[in-house]
């Protein structure tokens, strides 16, 4: 069984949702970024989502845009991201996925990219601007190299598209609970449970929920209806607001992740 399926199976057996942490790879440096990954894993993260910094992250809010910009300004390249992923793989058997944009996957050949993803010990990829309708080449490469696919369902996704998305997905489905870009929200969207149930009519695969989740209470609420809870900007903020003090950034991040993981058992 692959690491993604394994982890969700373990969660299911223990009757708990997974805590999924998003961090931007290379933010603000490779070394800091490694420490950050280490810290959220130690805090109890079940699945690590590594954002691959892109120059034009049009699905991301300010927090993630700035994180990507910091990484790119520090001259981080694709090969560094693969190196970082390998290094993180060296300290954990938890699943890791890439959260990326299609031009980065396409630039040097889709098959080549997916092969390197596999070699880096990364288990799956989510390509933000790649709907299933345009994804044939990625789907084939992922199958060839045994990398799992993650696709998004949005509040605007009509029922008739759920089957198309489920068909293309081999890892898990990511329901973005808000219309809009990534980022912390004060309140959770309504009707998450219903939407998750609707998605589950089309797939046996796990369904996770993300976008806008930033407090233990929100984690608890979402965990009660989904197989996993994704937290991104709330964690990335810990790095962004402590740029002058990398040690403090990591300790703040660890504490925040710990607090949020605690939401699972509230």
């Amino acid at each position: 069984m692959n690491r993604i399926a394994q982890q969700f199976a373990e969660g299911k057996a223990a009757d708990r949702s997974l805590f999924i942490a998003y961090l931007c790879a290379g933010d603000p440096t490779l070394e800091d970024s490694f420490r950050a990954c280490e810290s959220v894993l130690e805090a109890g993260t079940d699945l690590l989502e590594l954002g691959v910094p892109f120059s034009d992250p049009l699905a991301d809010g300010k927090t993630n845009q700035l994180a990507a910009q910091r990484a790119l300004q520090n001259d981080i390249h694709q090969k560094d991201i693969f190196t970082l992923a390998k290094r993180v793989r060296g300290i954990t058997e938890k699943p890791i996925i890439f959260y990326t944009y299609y031009n980065l996957v396409f630039a040097n050949g889709v098959d080549n990219y997916v092969r390197q993803v596999k070699e880096a010990g990364v288990d799956g990829i989510l390509v933000l601007d790649l709907p299933p309708e345009e994804a044939d080449e990625v789907l084939e490469a992922c199958e060839r190299h045994d990398v799992k696919t993650v696709f998004i369902v949005a509040p605007t996704t009509p029922p008739e598209r759920l089957a198309i998305i489920a068909e293309a997905t081999t890892g898990f489905i990511y329901y973005v609970s808000q219309e809009g870009v990534t980022g912390v929200r004060k309140t959770l969207a309504e009707g998450i449970g219903d939407k998750v149930a609707e998605i589950k009519e089309h797939t046996e695969l796990p369904v996770v929920v993300g976008f806008g989740i930033s407090t233990p209470e929100q984690v608890k609420t979402v965990a009660s209806v989904a197989d996993g809870v994704v937290v991104g900007s709330a964690l990335v903020n810990c790095i962004g607001s402590n740029l002058d003090n990398p040690q403090k950034a990591v300790s703040t991040l660890g504490a925040k992740a710990h607090e949020l993981v605690g939401g699972l058992s509230l």
Binding site: S55, L58, I152, Q178, G180
Partner: protein, 422 residues
């Protein structure tokens, strides 16, 4: 000036042009060959499908088309003239040069053709809020203007750098009641304004229509924007037949995203004896970060919704661009252009900032016409090309916009130049 050579697809078209079947361009899923498509976050996918459906219905509705024609004539000022530039022709001593005067349209550029179409469509969709990106500000001004006319709420995203170099247009947009939001991310130019507009739309698509201003982005935008501008080429063809009794030998247009160019070229695509040339921004020369000539320094990639030619580094990160003209200062080109270039139907050249400045002054001197810096790229190409052609040949330049907005910037550039030289 770079005149296209064989290795950049500049071969004379007559020997290799395949038949172009306009009914399948784009295909049902929005592709022009391998280009185009719909590379967007899931949140927008259905919205784009709905937009496509609504557009196709509107297009087939005689009442919608009649209303659009009425606004194009009475509000925008169509048809525009096809003007024989006699002095310029004499000065260059080659082909007879005609200017398609899109600069005479209301708001100063071709952009209003598309904005009127999409605003009527938004009204049909029941969307009361409009967003748009703008580079040079011409699309922003056209959008703000039409929103004022139709009573629609209007938000324009514009890079902070562009707001500074096109201050007059910012003022005009605000006069029309639009909110102009400065974009401070990335390079703070057109590409970043598109990112911000898309981020807005991801959150607001249920009540907001995004009037994309060029033949770019995800399907159905490239098709829709082309259709709303194809009147440029249709008029040109009719006018040149009336004036000269024959088709032109060559038609040239500047290409940023490529909306004025595709609008001009589309009518001539199956006339394989008419050479069609797009002119990109050569900036300070074809070196990384110094230009926006996607077909000279770029490769195939995916940006902001479509697969096309773009400028990116080895990792796929989008590169910085530069052009004296904000409207051409963009890293990707419309996907339909990429396709017609690939099959050998369109040729592409580029003009540098310096050549553009020269052409700008010449057109002012010879014809008393002040072209937009964007459109001046096509003029700069013509300065080089016309003398190579025979006096019995005809060259049409699409003068897509007027240069009032650029006057201050040009004055500064000329003053600086005088200082350096003096």
């Amino acid at each position: 000036m770079n005149v296209p050579k064989g290795d950049v697809g500049g071969h004379m078209i007559a020997d290799s042009v395949p038949q172009i079947d306009k009914t399948t361009l784009p295909d049902a899923s929005g592709h022009f060959g391998v280009y185009g498509g719909r590379y967007v976050p899931e949140t927008l996918f259905t919205c784009l499908q709905d937009l496509e459906k609504a557009y196709l219905e509107a297009k087939a509705d005689p009442e919608f088309m009649r209303e659009l024609q009425w606004y194009l004539k009475e509000y925008a000022g169509r048809p525009t003239t096809l003007y024989y530039a006699e002095q310029l022709t004499k000065r260059l001593g080659g082909a007879k040069i005609y200017l398609k005067r899109e600069d005479l349209l209301h708001t100063g550029a071709h952009k209003i053709n598309n904005v009127l179409g999409q605003a009527l469509l938004a009204r049909r969709l029941g969307k009361k809020r409009i967003i748009a990106e703008t580079g040079a500000g011409q699309h922003g001004v056209a959008t703000a203007t039409v929103c004022a006319k139709f009573g629609l709420e209007c938000v324009i995203y514009m890079g902070a750098v562009d707001m500074a170099r096109q201050a007059l247009n910012v003022f005009r947009m605000r006069l029309c009641g639009a909110e102009v939001r400065g974009v401070e991310t990335g390079q703070r130019t057109l590409k970043d304004a598109v990112n911000e507009a898309m981020r807005d739309w991801v959150a607001t698509s249920r009540n907001t229509h995004y009037i994309l201003g060029s033949a770019l982005g995800a399907h159905p935008f490239p098709m829709m924007v082309r259709d709303f501008h194809k009147i440029i080429g249709e008029e040109t063809r009719r006018q040149i037949m009336e004036l000269e009794g024959r088709l032109p030998n060559e038609v040239v247009a500047c290409v940023g995203g490529g909306s004025n160019a595709i609008g001009m070229f589309y009518e001539f695509l199956d006339q394989t004896d008419v050479r069609l040339v797009g002119v990109e921004a050569g900036g300070r020369g074809i070196e990384r970060g110094q230009h926006a000539a996607r077909f000279s320094g770029g490769k195939v990639g995916v940006l902001q919704g479509c697969k096309t030619y773009l400028l990116c580094d080895d990792d796929g990160q989008i590169e910085l661009t530069h052009s004296v003209s904000a409207g051409l200062d963009y890293a990707a080109v419309g996907p339909e252009h990429a396709y017609y270039r690939e099959i050998g139907r369109l040729d592409f050249a580029y003009a540098t900032d310096a050549e553009v400045m020269e052409a700008f002054q010449l057109l002012c001197e010879c014809e008393g016409i002040l072209p937009a810096l964007e459109s001046t790229h096509a003029v700069a190409y013509a300065l080089k090309r016309a003398p190579e052609m025979r006096p019995d040949e005809i060259l049409v330049i699409n003068l897509s916009g007027r240069g009032d907005k650029d006057v201050q910037q040009i004055a500064e550039i000329l003053a600086k130049k005088a200082q350096v030289e003096g």
